[in-house]
């Protein structure tokens, strides 16, 4: 046992310690909530996964619901802003001539890239959002955090195709988000159905197909 191995904890400032503890707690909660939902996870489960006492969670968060909301909020602005900026660039580039497929590609691929590039914690967040998007607690947070980026996408879709009735545009988005959420959830169902031909964690395979598929769907609505 060298001296380094006994002093397992490197000296940290309190700010660092706080930040690290918070991150560990949020990561653990994010993963567990993504699998079992708000009510399927106890504070003890989270504490156990982090390796701290349950009461520490109460030191950092008022209650379980606050922890849940913090998990949602932590990464929401990152993905929302990334997509808003990408859509703004797309508007500038196409100078008043956007297309359905172009706008959908920016919206969907910018999101999928985040999960492809940034590894497991982000993919857990994606699964977390998908898992809770159809719950009373989650739906509220979806509205708060993602309405701006979604409404921006919809405005561009309308501009791209003023001939498609607004109602159809909204229903089309409804289908898009269903397909996206089903992807982010990574349930493994498509793996089992296809006998392993498709894997639900193969986001690049989805990226290759999703925007193309959905753009064609929108086009068909005017028939």
């Amino acid at each position: 046992m060298a001296e380094g191995s006994t002093a397992t904890r490197v000296r940290r400032t309190k700010a660092e310690q706080r930040a690290e503890s918070l991150e560990q707690i949020l990561d653990a909660a994010e993963y567990l909530f993504s699998v079992n939902g708000l009510h399927g996870v106890t504070l003890r489960d989270v504490a156990k996964r982090v390796g701290v006492h349950t009461t520490l969670l109460h030191y950092y968060f008022q209650d379980k619901k606050s922890l849940f909301e913090a998990v949602f909020a932590r990464r929401a602005s990152v993905t929302s802003n990334r997509r808003i900026e990408a859509l703004d660039r797309y508007i500038a580039e196409t100078a008043g001539k956007p297309t359905l497929k172009g706008a959908l590609t920016v919206f969907l691929d910018t999101d999928l890239d985040l999960y492809i590039e940034r590894g497991e914690p982000w993919r857990n967040y994606a699964a977390f959002c998908a898992r809770v998007s159809n719950t009373p607690e989650g739906a509220e947070l979806m509205d708060v955090h993602f309405d701006p980026v979604v409404l921006k996408l919809i405005a561009i879709l309308k501009e791209a195709r003023p001939d498609i009735p607004e109602e159809d545009i909204f229903w089309g988005y409804h289908f898009v988000t269903g397909a996206l959420m089903n992807t982010l959830a990574r349930t493994g169902r498509i793996d089992r159905l296809s006998g392993g031909l498709c894997r639900s964690d193969d986001f690049p395979a989805v990226k290759k197909r999703l925007a193309k598929f959905m753009a064609a769907g929108f086009e068909a609505l005017k028939d």
Copy 2:
């Protein structure tokens, strides 16, 4: 108070009483599970909604998980068989010349019609399936109850378009089921996003668009 109002309980046979109690319990559980999921509902919640004692649920069901599975199973074979029969009729009618749009219309509209025609209990079941489809408990049941009808649909899609790679067919189905589940969940999100222009309980509006949208999406995958 006439004599009819005091004798609120009409005399029933035990078999009738049993059937009625079971149905009330399953209806209540179905609704509550559809809103809050397996872990968000207690047996007390269910008992309270029915107006009986918690222990009665244990008389009819071994435990909470069994009740949950019974809710899933009760209507699963009805919707599964209905669609299997409709697809079989479609195969016979088209005599080896099925189309993507035709098969998807049969699969999706046959399901949606069930919820449109049979009222709230069935719509609660639809929401229940959607709510739990991306949970560990629900995914397992989806496999058990719905694999046959889904694989039959996929076989027809392959026959309709042997030129589309099998992998693309499966991914297309993955998008279809995401859109369908998002519809069945009736979260109210599309209502709020569209400022009331679309309503998430407007299944006829979805029926008018979903198969058409998805068929065009499949077509686009070969480009």
